[in-house]
C-alpha cells in the first residue's frame, strides 16, 4: 500500500485550475520525484496535499482520506512540508525553529524525547548546532535549508514534502544536502515527495519519477525509463 496516494487531484488559486487531475503515489519510505519547468505546478501540488489551497479529488495518506483536512491537522498526521523559500521563522533562533518542529508532533513531547530529537538533528546537521543561538534570518541559504529539513525531522514525520531544496545553492552545498537527505530517507524510514527543477541530482534519489507540464503528468515511471528515453532525457536532463 502507498503511503501517499493522489487520485484525480485538481487545484486552483481562484482564477482557473492550475493542476488537472493529478494521480501520483509515494511508497512507504519511498522517494517520488516530480520534475517540471518553472510554473509547471510543482509547488501547487505540495500546497494542495497540505490543504493550503482549494483542491478537488482524493488525497489518501496512510490509508485515510485527508483531502478535507486543514493544514495543521495534516501536519499533525506526520506530513512535514518544507516549503518553497524554506519557510523558516526568521526572527527566532535556530534552536527555537527546531523546537517548533516538535511542538505538535505525534508521540512523546517531554524534555527527554525533545532532547534526543535535537541530538539526532544535530548529528545530521552539525552546522546547526554551531548556529544554535543565531537568528534564523541571518543564516546562509544552505544553513536555512538545513534548518528547514531539521525542523521537519523534529516532528518525526512519516512523509516529507520537499520543495526545490537545491534552489539558489552552490553545487557543493546541494551535494551535501542530498547526501544527508538520502541518509534520512534510509535511517528514519521516512517517505519523500520531492519536487525539483534540478533533475540530474534528484533522479539519483528517486524510485519513482513524474514529469509535469502545465499542471499535468506527462510521464510516470522509474528513473531508468526517463534515462532510457532519449527525447525526454534531452529535455529534462540536458544530455
Amino acid at each position: 500500500m502507498s503511503l501517499l496516494a493522489l487520485a484525480g487531484l485538481s487545484a486552483h488559486y481562484g482564477c482557473g485550475p492550475v493542476l488537472h487531475g493529478i494521480s501520483l503515489d509515494v511508497a512507504a519510505a519511498g522517494v517520488s520525484v516530480v520534475l517540471g519547468a518553472n510554473g509547471a505546478g510543482k509547488t501547487t501540488l505540495l500546497r494542495a496535499v497540505c490543504g493550503m489551497i482549494a483542491r478537488e479529488g482524493t488525497v489518501e495518506f496512510d490509508g485515510a482520506r485527508i483531502d478535507r483536512m486543514a493544514t495543521p491537522d495534516v501536519a499533525r498526521l506526520g506530513i512535514a512540508h518544507v516549503p518553497e523559500g524554506r519557510g523558516t521563522f526568521p526572527n527566532l533562533s535556530t534552536e527555537e525553529n527546531l523546537r517548533l518542529g516538535a511542538c505538535s508532533r505525534r508521540g512523546p513531547r517531554d524534555r527527554r524525547a525533545i532532547a534526543s530529537l535535537f541530538e539526532r538533528v544535530y548529528q545530521y546537521f552539525p552546522k546547526l548546532a554551531q548556529r544554535r543561538r543565531q537568528q534564523a534570518g541571518t543564516l546562509s541559504g544552505g544553513e536555512q535549508q538545513m534548518l528547514a529539513l531539521g525542523r521537519a525531522l523534529m516532528s518525526s514525520p512519516k512523509l516529507m514534502l520537499l520543495d526545490e531544496p537545491s534552489f539558489g545553492l552552490a553545487p557543493l552545498v546541494v551535494e551535501e544536502l542530498y547526501r544527508i537527505m538520502r541518509d534520512i530517507n534510509a535511517d528514519e524510514h521516512v517517505g519523500i515527495l520531492l519536487v525539483e527543477q534540478n533533475a540530474a541530482i534528484a533522479l539519483d534519489l528517486a524510485d519513482q519519477v513524474y514529469l509535469f507540464e502545465t499542471g499535468r503528468v506527462v510521464m510516470a515511471g522509474p528513473p531508468k525509463d526517463l534515462r532510457g528515453d532519449e527525447a525526454l532525457r534531452r529535455v529534462y536532463l540536458g544530455y
Binding site: 527555537e96 523546537r99 517548533l100 536555512q144
Partner: protein, 290 residues
C-alpha cells in the same frame, strides 16, 4: 529641585499606567499585526465589571480575579466574532472595524452603567509608604504591578512552549500551520491575554482618574505613544516607553507648555517616532527575507 522630583515621580506613576496599556497593545500587535484601537474601551468594560462585582458584595481580590478571567474570555470571543471575519478584508476596513468596536463598547458601557463618575477602591494603603512625600502607595503599587506583568510576560514568551508558539505565529503564520499550529486559536489566545492585561490596567487606573465612560480616552493616546516609542512589538519597549512618556508629559506640563496642552505631547511624540524611527527604541526593524 524638590518640585522637579515631585514631577518625576508623578510622571513615573502615570507612566506605569501607560505602560500597562501599551503592554496590551504590544500583545495583540505581536500576534496579529493589528494595533487594537479598541483596547482602551475593552479595559473600560473590564473595569466596570470589576466595579459591579464589588458593588454586589464581592471582595476586592475576588472581583479582581473574576474580572481578569472574564476579560480573557471577552477577548477570545471578540476575536472570534468580530475580528476574525473582518481580518481578510483590506487593512483600512479592519481599522474601521476596530473603531466601530471602540465606539460600540463605549456606548454599551455608558448605557449599562450611566455617565456619572464613580469612585473605585484601591487595594493599597491610603498613606504614602515609608512616610515619604514624593509618591503615594497606590502609585507605587501600580508601578510594581506593571513591572510584575512585564516579568510574567517575559517568562511566558521566553520560556514556555505556548509563548514560543505565539511568537512563531507572529513571525510566520503560514509556516506555523505547517508545523501543526492552529493559528486561529493562537490569535484568540493573544486577544484573551491582551484583554486580561487591559483589565489589570483599567482596575489600576480607575482609583486615580475615577470611573466614567470617557476614562480611557486621554490615557489611551499616551499608551499609543508609549507603545510606538518603545517599539510596537516589544514588551520591554512598551514599559520603558510608558515611563518615558509619563515623565515627559509631566515635565512638559509643569515647566514648558502648561497642563492644558499636555495631550499634544503624545501626538507630537507619535508623529516624531513614526518619522524618525518607526520601529521604536526596542522594536525589531522588519527583517529582510532571504
Amino acid at each position: 529641585m524638590e518640585g522637579l522630583l515631585h514631577q518625576v515621580f508623578a510622571g513615573l506613576a502615570n507612566g506605569a499606567i501607560y505602560a500597562s496599556l501599551a503592554l496590551a497593545l504590544v500583545m495583540i500587535y505581536r500576534v496579529t499585526h493589528f494595533v487594537n484601537f479598541a483596547q482602551g474601551e475593552l479595559a473600560l468594560c473590564s473595569t466596570y465589571s470589576a466595579w459591579a462585582l464589588i458593588e454586589a458584595g464581592a471582595s476586592y481580590w475576588v472581583a479582581f480575579v473574576v474580572t481578569v478571567a472574564l476579560s480573557f474570555a471577552m477577548g477570545v470571543v471578540i476575536e472570534r466574532v468580530v475580528i476574525r471575519p473582518a481580518s481578510r478584508a483590506p487593512a483600512l476596513s479592519v481599522v474601521i472595524v476596530f473603531i466601530g468596536l471602540m465606539v460600540a463598547l463605549n456606548s454599551v458601557a455608558g448605557w449599562i452603567f450611566g455617565y456619572s463618575t464613580l469612585s473605585f477602591p484601591s487595594p493599597f494603603p491610603a498613606e504614602p509608604p515609608f512616610g515619604n512625600h514624593y509618591i503615594g502607595s497606590h502609585e507605587l503599587g501600580v508601578i510594581a504591578v506593571t513591572l510584575g506583568m512585564l516579568g510574567l510576560l517575559y517568562v511566558f514568551f521566553r520560556f514556555t512552549t505556548l509563548g514560543l508558539v505565539l511568537r512563531a505565529v507572529a513571525d510566520n503564520a503560514e509556516s506555523s500551520r505547517l508545523v501543526g499550529i492552529r493559528v486561529e486559536r493562537m490569535l484568540g489566545l493573544g486577544w484573551g491575554l491582551a484583554a486580561a492585561i487591559g483589565a489589570v490596567a483599567g482596575i489600576m487606573i480607575a482609583p486615580i482618574v475615577f470611573l466614567d465612560p470617557s476614562m480611557m480616552s486621554g490615557v489611551m493616546l499616551y499608551a499609543f505613544a508609549a507603545a510606538l516609542l518603545g517599539g510596537i512589538d516589544s514588551p520591554i519597549g512598551a514599559v520603558v516607553g510608558g515611563f518615558i512618556v509619563g515623565v515627559l508629559e509631566n515635565l512638559m506640563g509643569a515647566y514648558v507648555i502648561g497642563t492644558e496642552l499636555k495631550l499634544t505631547v503624545a501626538l507630537v511624540l507619535i508623529v516624531v517616532v513614526l518619522v524618525v524611527k518607526p520601529s521604536g527604541l526596542f522594536g525589531q526593524p522588519v527583517a529582510a527575507r532571504v
